[in-house]
């Protein structure tokens, strides 16, 4: 649906992803949270904050848009330089996807060049989000085992904190 060449504008791109997110939030995220489970989300509202603003959508508007989302207890940001992410993507696939490379923006006809420009803007936005939302940064250029160790430490520390439910029960 929609993802044909140049079919989406930055705003309709943003709204469609918000729609999808709202659906997943209500069906896949909120019920397990109510059941006391841990929800692992690969990408969250922060992806939209970075990606949609890089496309030119208003920063405050997209934050308001996602104000129905549940604030995560822990948000990890795997930070990686553009060259490393481009190398990894190229090793995995032959061709960059249209929107992933930001080709809809018309900054460059060349997919790799476009990706570089677009991701540069995305990474700038992520740096802003680290401050604004207190994202925990993991250096994603490290070895996977080292990254995983960091992640486990962060998660363990988070889980050791008393939750609201436990606090209420203990009182």
């Amino acid at each position: 649906m929609g993802k044909k060449k140049n079919a989406l504008t930055p705003t309709t791109f943003s709204l469609l992803h918000a729609t999808d997110f709202a659906d997943r939030l209500l069906y896949n995220i909120v019920p397990p949270l109510k059941a006391g489970m841990i929800v692992l989300a690969e990408r969250y509202a922060y992806t939209a904050f970075a990606r949609d603003v890089a496309r030119g959508v208003d920063r405050r508007w997209v934050r308001d848009l996602y104000s129905f989302a549940v604030r995560p207890d822990l948000a990890l940001y795997f930070r990686v330089p553009i060259d490393v992410s481009l190398d990894r993507l190229m090793a995995r696939r032959v061709k960059l996807k249209f929107y992933e490379a930001g080709l809809d923006m018309g900054w460059s006809q060349n997919a790799q060049e476009s990706f570089r420009i677009f991701q540069g803007k995305v990474l700038d936005e992520y740096d802003r989000l680290v401050e604004e939302f207190g994202l925990s940064v993991v250096d994603a250029s490290l070895a996977i085992t080292d990254q995983q160790q960091m992640v486990r430490n962060l998660v363990s520390r988070q889980l050791e904190r008393p939750t609201l439910v436990e606090t209420a029960v203990n009182q």
Partner: protein, 249 residues
């Protein structure tokens, strides 16, 4: 020159026609576009389409270029919205967002280009029907107004006002009550008549409360078609003759 309002501001002259209501689309500056937006609002069955058709013919005879846009008519979203309506897997939040996507698509691909080219855009429902329907369903009103902050304030908004008793008789004699127009998704009971009456009454209250906020020009929709059309033409004529829009003769 006045700045674009920082936040989506309410009534009393703070909304400037032809400007974004809120944060807008930073990548699409629209200042000084010559076209005009005329929106006709009102609940289902109130006679909007008939009035728009008559208004369009009249405007075209006078030499205005006219573009029509209507709710859920975007190329991008219409099939998805139809599917969602028939399947019942969506909740109120995802519905609101799908409608907003439809509106954004039409705004960027139909309305803004038409404004730029100096057309009169006739909108069969604008954002207000979406605000009313979602408001009735308990979606946060401040959030809704921020969401639609990318919309452009119309130059004229006509609200075709009707009472629920007249509306019921009209809808029944024309085509009958359907699931969505009766608000059956709100699960207020199995009786479609009761549900229609309760839902449409709430909708009408919602429209009324927006009337001041957004500066609706209220027209009594219980009158005959030609009388309503006369009113519309008088308002539109007065507005267009005082505006800078050009007529191709």
């Amino acid at each position: 020159m006045n700045p674009i309002p920082e936040e989506f501001q309410g009534a009393n002259g703070t909304i400037q026609p032809g400007r974004y209501y809120g944060h807008g689309l930073p990548y699409l500056p629209i200042e000084h576009y010559p076209g005009k937006i005329i929106a006709i609002e009102g609940t289902d069955g109130v006679g909007r389409s008939t009035q728009i058709q008559l208004l369009r013919e009249w405007l075209e005879v006078q030499g205005y270029g006219v573009v029509e846009t209507g709710w859920t008519r975007s190329a991008l979203m219409q099939p998805t919205i139809e599917l969602a309506k028939s399947s019942n897997t969506l909740n109120k939040l995802t519905f609101v967002l799908l409608y907003a996507t439809d509106f954004a698509d039409r705004l960027e691909k139909e309305i803004i280009p038409a404004l730029k080219a100096g057309f009169v855009v006739l909108a069969d429902r604008y954002i207000f029907s979406a605000l009313a329907r979602a408001g009735v369903r308990g979606v946060d009103r401040a959030w809704l107004r921020s969401l639609y902050g990318f919309a452009i304030a119309p130059h004229l908004v006509f609200y075709l006002k009707i009472d629920v008793d007249t509306l019921i008789r009209r809808v029944l004699s024309a085509r009958g009550m359907d699931f969505w127009e009766s608000g059956m998704d709100l699960k207020g009971g199995d009786d479609i008549y009761d549900s229609f009456r309760a839902y449409q009454s709430k909708l009408l209250r919602e429209y009324s409360s927006m009337s001041d906020e957004f500066g609706f020009r209220v027209l009594d929709a219980r009158r005959p078609v030609d009388l309503i059309q006369e009113d519309l033409r008088r308002h539109v004529q007065a507005f267009l003759s005082s505006s800078d829009i050009s007529v191709d003769v």
